[in-house]
């Protein structure tokens, strides 16, 4: 297993040539920065992640996060808490968020590049730091001013954790089947009761506070997705002065034993075992699904990015091993010698396949992140609308294809290692096991495919996909000229 090296040469190739940082930095929102600063921040982040976060990947897999049934607490692996404190202390979590709540106000693309490094370094760790983004997005778009002031600054900084509580035992891909109840108390608050499963970092020891966003039904809610509301359920109630108050009635009652991402605790959460967990409504009742959709693109982009990131890490290991390992004589090598396996054409084909897929994934994901910055900040409303439609169209590609390729590329790394690739001590099986979750969560890849065909192709009567395909076709003459 090689040390992780952030692939700055390849990242900067995309930033310098396939996206347009100069244009981004002309937007009002990003005038405070410039391409050189964006790249300098990326280099600094790369150094931090490689030194502090990457070395914890293996220990995370070996120890995992462990639930204590006596106290319903969760202990993260050795070193995670100290690394998380450094991550928060350096301000890395807030880089792409609204400066009004303590963020850096940088482009989403900048956050995506840093997220690639973090996830390559340590996929489990990265989930603590990045899953909170969905909760921040949702609160930022739909929370009241008071809610935003109470919760956002410490979520943006990473001092507080955040979770999304959707799935229930009988409500997985079919979110509309969920049964968790929310009963209004007459004082503006609600009492929440129910069980949620598969809650990533639902409980842990990295932060003093965790803000759970919970989907539930009010007593007279209509059935299905039209009757879902979204609530803030803090682990500790927050006092008027911002300090932490009473422990809320929410517990992690167990942690799953998983195939991969073992350091990321996947929790069964029980709300309201005593007298109901205190929850605060976000926006209006029965609008929860609509609010979820506002964060869904970013959440799916982040998971697609995991496919790229874990592929990159596995590829680096494979390239290093293929240079060390000597077997057989490659064509042209002196008789009686054995060659590093990287000189064998079939091994080289595997490495080239990995490299080509990784570069394609990185291009697609960075271009989609750039398009989402345009959709949010371009001065021309028509361009904003077109870019938003383009993001919508490409999200199933980012999520569905890049996570499938993450599995493919990590599997190729196992193959390059040969017999050692099947042995846990080599470190390579972890990448393959870690990669395998990404095609499943955040909308299975089957759902991504149906989303593309059923929801995305019909946008604007097929106009957006036609425009996109004609843009692709326009490259043909340029390629022929070359």
């Amino acid at each position: 297993m090689a040390e992780y090296r952030p692939p700055l040469r390849d990242v900067f190739f995309v930033l310098d040539n396939l996206v347009d940082l100069d244009e981004l930095c002309q937007f009002e929102a990003f005038k405070h920065t410039d391409p050189d600063t964006l790249k300098a921040v990326i280099e600094e982040n790369a150094r931090f992640v490689a030194e502090v976060i990457a070395p914890l990947n293996r220990v995370g897999d070996l120890e995992g996060s462990v639930h204590d049934p006596a106290t319903n607490t969760v202990r993260t692996p050795e070193g995670f808490k100290a690394a998380y404190d450094q991550y928060v202390g350096a301000g890395w979590g807030g880089v792409p968020f609204d400066a009004a709540y303590g963020g850096g106000g940088f482009p989403w693309l900048e956050g995506i590049v840093m997220q690639e490094f973090l996830c390559s370094a340590n996929m489990s760790f990265s989930m603590a730091a990045t899953l909170i983004q969905g909760a921040i997005d949702l609160l930022h778009s739909h929370g009241s001013e008071e809610q935003k002031e109470t919760y956002l600054p410490k979520m943006v900084s990473g001092e507080w954790g955040g979770t999304m509580n959707l799935t229930e035992p009988e409500a997985g891909s079919d979110v509309g089947a969920l049964r968790t109840k929310a009963v209004p108390q007459g004082d503006g608050s609600y009492r929440i009761t129910g069980t949620k499963i598969f809650i990533t970092f639902g409980e842990h020891d990295l932060t003093e506070q965790i803000i759970h966003l919970v989907l539930a039904r009010t007593p007279d809610a209509p059935p299905g997705t039209k009757g879902i509301s979204c609530f803030i359920v803090p682990k500790y109630l927050v006092n008027d002065d911002g300090s932490l108050g009473e422990r809320n009635d929410v517990q992690c009652v167990s942690v799953e034993h998983k195939m991969g991402v073992k350091a990321s605790p996947t929790c069964v959460m029980s709300f309201g075992e005593q007298d109901g967990a205190v929850g605060y409504l976000i926006g209006e009742e029965n609008q929860g699904m609509r609010y979820m959709f506002t964060m869904m693109n970013n959440a799916r982009l982040s998971v697609g990015l995991q496919g790229l990131a874990i592929a990159e890490r596995a590829y680096q290991d494979a390239v290093a091993y293929a240079q060390e390992r000597q077997q057989g004589r490659a064509p042209g090598a002196p008789a009686g010698t054995s060659s590093p396996i990287i000189e064998h054409p079939d091994v080289r084909r595997m490495l080239m396949t990995q490299k080509a897929l990784i570069e394609a994934m990185r291009g697609i994901i960075y271009l989609t992140a750039e398009a989402s910055d345009h959709a949010a900040h371009h001065p021309d409303p028509d361009i904003r609308a077109y870019k938003q439609a383009l993001v919508d169209l490409l999200i199933p590609v980012c999520k569905g294809w890049c996570t499938d390729m993450g599995v493919e590329v990590t599997s190729l790394a196992v193959q390059v290692y040969g017999g050692m690739g099947f042995i846990e001590e080599s470190g390579v099986p972890q990448h393959y096991r870690d990669a395998r979750i990404a095609p499943i969560y955040e909308g299975t890849n089957g759902i991504q495919a149906m989303d593309l065909v059923g929801r995305k192709l019909p946008i604007d009567g097929g106009g957006v996909v036609r425009e996109f395909l004609s843009q692709i076709a326009m490259l043909d003459p340029a390629l022929l000229r070359r």
Partner: protein, 103 residues
């Protein structure tokens, strides 16, 4: 090819949603490969331009060009192979009864 398959799945998916649902995954793979091909073609143009102009690190640009060509000539052609799986519709996907799937 992708444009034809796209219009097939849009039209036949409206006729009977089972056509769209049965072909969605091979369609996503095909659409993604073409999108990836587009990105790699842009990469090739940038790298070729840099090599022609003598700008940038020549060895790195040559690697970018070669990797893009490898993708477009050796991986991208798989996209065509997914076409028949999309335009076959749902008949064979759903045609073997559950009793024959179960052992």
């Amino acid at each position: 090819m992708l444009a034809d398959t796209t219009s097939w799945i849009m039209h036949h998916g409206i006729e009977d949603p089972r056509n769209a649902l049965a072909g969605a995954t091979p369609y996503l793979r095909m659409f993604s490969l073409v999108t990836a091909g587009w990105v790699m073609a842009r990469q090739a143009l940038v790298a070729k331009h840099a090599l022609d102009e003598g700008t940038g690190d020549a060895e790195a640009m040559h690697a970018k060009l070669t990797t893009a060509r490898f993708f477009c000539e050796q991986i991208l052609p798989q996209a065509q192979g997914f076409g028949p799986a999309v335009t076959a519709g749902y008949a064979d996907v759903m045609g073997v009864p559950v009793s024959q799937l179960a052992v």
